[in-house]
């Protein structure tokens, strides 16, 4: 009998350690970053690398779900007023900052005050908070935020960067010290930051969600060179590497210790037309010509030849992962015959000559893409005068005034909606906007005010059809992104905007 008990205990003790106690974070996760984050205070984090690396320190009132929808974060629920301008947030109780300070309604406005301070307003962070006009504390756990007008994206902006920071600690140590050693309510707290080298965080033991995080230690290592990142994942010195190209994938594909993660990036590549500046008076003003140019380009061939098929052709600026995508709208087919007919119909039976600018080496294989578009358009009699420019010159103010009248570019859009891509490139007066269409502007205005998600989806679909029939661009493709993790990493799924949450990511062994 005693032997059986002992045997049972031995067996149990052998099995039990294999299953860590639920909710107990364990192990270390090491992530390679391709560049040094601009800062670890969220307002100083100005690119996707920096945002991903700093986000574990913070929580927002709302967060993104996997499908891009808005989910409760530090706010358990919220109500929106009839006019769509006033949001009443009911906050989670019992949440503390890493320094022990209580999170409550008085802490909600701290980050907003920072962003609205005039000297900080040129920071890209300003965009994240500028919509809010006023914040009123109703009681300790209820706060009311009013926007200047009905704003469809207010909650998205909150999910992006409106994070809780402790007013007491900030006042005590001052902004400079806070920037060097920020405090939030996030699943991880900062242990050590060595600029240019690493950011080390450890699990916050009093995190409000007892199931998160899954790892005890989180380390970001800055490795600027792609070859070195590839070497480091092969030796297991890092667990996650981002931004792999197809050659890297081919190298790692058969490595038994590595998993490849692939996802479509929310960045549309296109050829833009101008109907302002030097675009005025060109054939591009004719709708039939623009349709013809869309029909002339062999997108499928381009994606197959230049990206080994690791991409998708697109029908417009609203892509499959975006709200309001209409799957019935198929990408323009490759039909040079029909394109020539349309050109003749438009009054250009012999084609025409036109200038096109290309941002040399700005994106993967973009030079070849430009050449391939030039060749395809040449096949229908459109003689493209291609001009390669360095990226800095291409995107500088002076260039945008004289570029084109066609140019190759790309635009990403965060939050699972195409709005930012559409707004940035199609709002008259905007820096990078070279196409003016009052109907599109009207659509965008309506989308921006449609606080209801379903209503917005319907408007996106309608706009997509409009922009398909009267295209301001030659829509080209979106690309798949590749990342790699070591086999021991669990629960890692990057978002289409190239950032990631690490609350649910764990490591085995």
């Amino acid at each position: 009998m005693r032997i059986k008990v002992v045997l049972f205990l031995v067996i149990v003790s052998l099995i039990f350690p294999l299953f860590p106690v639920s909710g107990q974070p364990s192990g270390e996760l090491v992530i390679a970053l391709p560049n040094d984050p601009t800062g670890i205070f969220i307002a100083n984090a100005s690119d996707v690398t920096a945002i991903s690396a700093t986000r574990p320190l913070y929580d927002g009132l709302v967060v993104y779900g996997a499908d891009g929808s808005i989910q409760p974060g530090l706010a358990e629920s919220w109500d929106i007023s009839e006019d769509g301008r006033t949001y009443t947030f009911h906050l989670r109780e019992g949440v503390t900052f890493h320094n022990g300070e209580d999170f409550n309604a008085h802490a909600v406005g701290t980050i907003w005050e920072y962003g609205m301070t005039p000297t900080n307003q040129w920071l890209s962070y300003y965009d994240s908070v500028a919509s809010a006009e006023d914040i009123v504390v109703i009681d300790d756990y209820t706060v009311q935020i009013t926007t200047s007008e009905a704003d469809a994206f207010f909650l998205s902006e909150m999910a992006n960067g409106w994070f809780a920071i402790p007013p007491g600690y900030l006042a005590e140590v001052g902004l400079e010290a806070f920037e060097a050693s920020p405090v939030g309510t996030g699943p991880f707290m900062l242990e050590h930051w060595a600029p240019g080298d690493r950011i080390v965080m450890r699990a916050f033991p009093d995190y409000w969600n007892p199931e998160q995080p899954k790892v005890e230690r989180l380390t970001f290592r800055i490795i600027p060179d792609a070859t070195t990142r590839m070497a480091a994942i092969q030796t297991g010195e890092v667990d996650i590497v981002t931004r792999l190209n197809t050659d890297d994938v081919a190298l790692l594909e058969f490595n038994p210790d590595v998993n490849i993660v692939s996802y479509p990036n929310d960045r549309v590549y296109y050829v833009a037309f101008k109907n302002i500046g030097n675009g005025v008076g060109t054939p591009l003003e004719n709708e039939l010509v623009r349709q013809a140019l869309n029909l002339a380009v062999d997108r499928e061939g381009l994606v197959a030849a230049l990206f080994s098929g690791n991409g998708q052709t697109v029908s417009g600026f609203v892509i499959p992962s975006n709200l309001g995508y209409d799957p019935s709208l198929l990408p323009y087919p490759h039909d040079p015959q029909r394109a020539r007919e349309l050109l003749a119909e438009a009054g250009y039976p012999d084609g025409f000559g036109i200038g096109m600018s290309c941002p040399a080496d700005a994106y993967t294989n973009i030079n070849e893409v430009c050449l391939s578009v030039q060749r395809d358009l040449g096949a229908i009699g459109v003689d493209v005068d291609l001009e390669f420019k360095t990226t800095n010159a291409f995107w500088s103010e002076a260039h945008y005034a004289t570029t084109g009248p066609m140019y190759v570019d790309s635009w990403s859009s965060p939050n699972g909606e195409a709005f930012w891509r559409l707004e940035g490139s199609l709002t008259p007066g905007y820096y990078y906007s070279t196409w003016t269409d009052p109907d599109i502007v009207d659509y965008l205005g309506r989308i921006a005010q449609a606080v209801d998600r379903e209503e917005r989806a319907a408007l996106y679909a309608e706009l997509s059809h409009y922009m398909y029939d009267d295209p301001p661009y030659i829509y080209l493709y979106i690309l798949n992104l590749f990342e790699a993790t070591t086999k021991r990493v669990t629960g890692y799924q990057p978002l289409p905007n190239e950032t990631f949450y690490l609350n649910e990511v764990g490591v085995d062994g």
Binding site: N35, D36, T38, G39, N44, S46, P118, T119, Q121, W122, L123, S124, Y126, D127, E179, A194, P195, G196, D197, R198, R221, I222, I223, P224, D225, T227, T228, A231, A232, Q234, T235, E237, T390, N392, A393, W395, S396, E397, A398, H399, W420, E423, G424, G429, Y430, Y431, Y432
Partner: protein
Amino acid sequence: MRLTGDPVGLMVARNATPEQREAFRVAHGFDRPLAEQFLGYLGNALGGDLGKSLRLHLPNTELIMQRLPATMELALAALALSLLIAVPLGIVSGVFPGSPLDLLARLIGLAGQTIPSFWLAMILILVFAVNLRLFPTFGRDSPQHLVLPAVALSVAGMGQMVRLLRSAVLEVCRENYIRTARAKGLSEVVITLRHVTPNALIPLVSVVGVNFTYMLGGSVYIETIFAWPGLGTLLNDAINDSDFPLVQAITIFIAAFAIGLNLLTDIAYDLIDPRARQR
């Protein structure tokens, strides 16, 4: 007005309004005439203020000082390594021309000066980190982490020093005072150590100075490849992000450092070689 493009377009959010752009321009003085911007910068630089990084919002001098120790550590290690190998090898090959050691020295001299260091760095990583797992791939965590970057950075200088020393030794060996020493019956070991080496090492002093500066500059590639958190990676980031003030500051710092070091080398030359003082 800038060859590199307008910094405002690069630093401000893509959707920023014209007012926000203007505010940025004013806040950073980009609205003032170029001559005024330049003179203002020059005045501040003389006082040790090299401006503020656009990207990191910190004083450039502070950023440079933060990263300088790592770069110094790597450059000194590389210099020590190249001296450690180049000095004995150069002397032996000069004393025994045509011997197998001389062949090795000439090979190292040639390879060191022809193999690009960034290529060597990648090969070192593939062989010694990925395949043999003898050294870590990247970072600055332990003395072990120093080995591969120091080797990669040292090879070019090592090659130059070996070649220089070899020819210096050959030259000294033909001098009359060496013949006199032999005639006096001194042993070859004594001649080499007492008479050849000290005289052959004199030209090395200036090369060491130049090489050290070269290593500071060359560390841009090597540091970037090995993710070594020094001035090189800082400069690489600054260039990639068009952080002009920081690029300028690092360039000026390295240039000033090179000038200072050259001065020290000249002074050292005077101290070591009495003939230089008389001239």
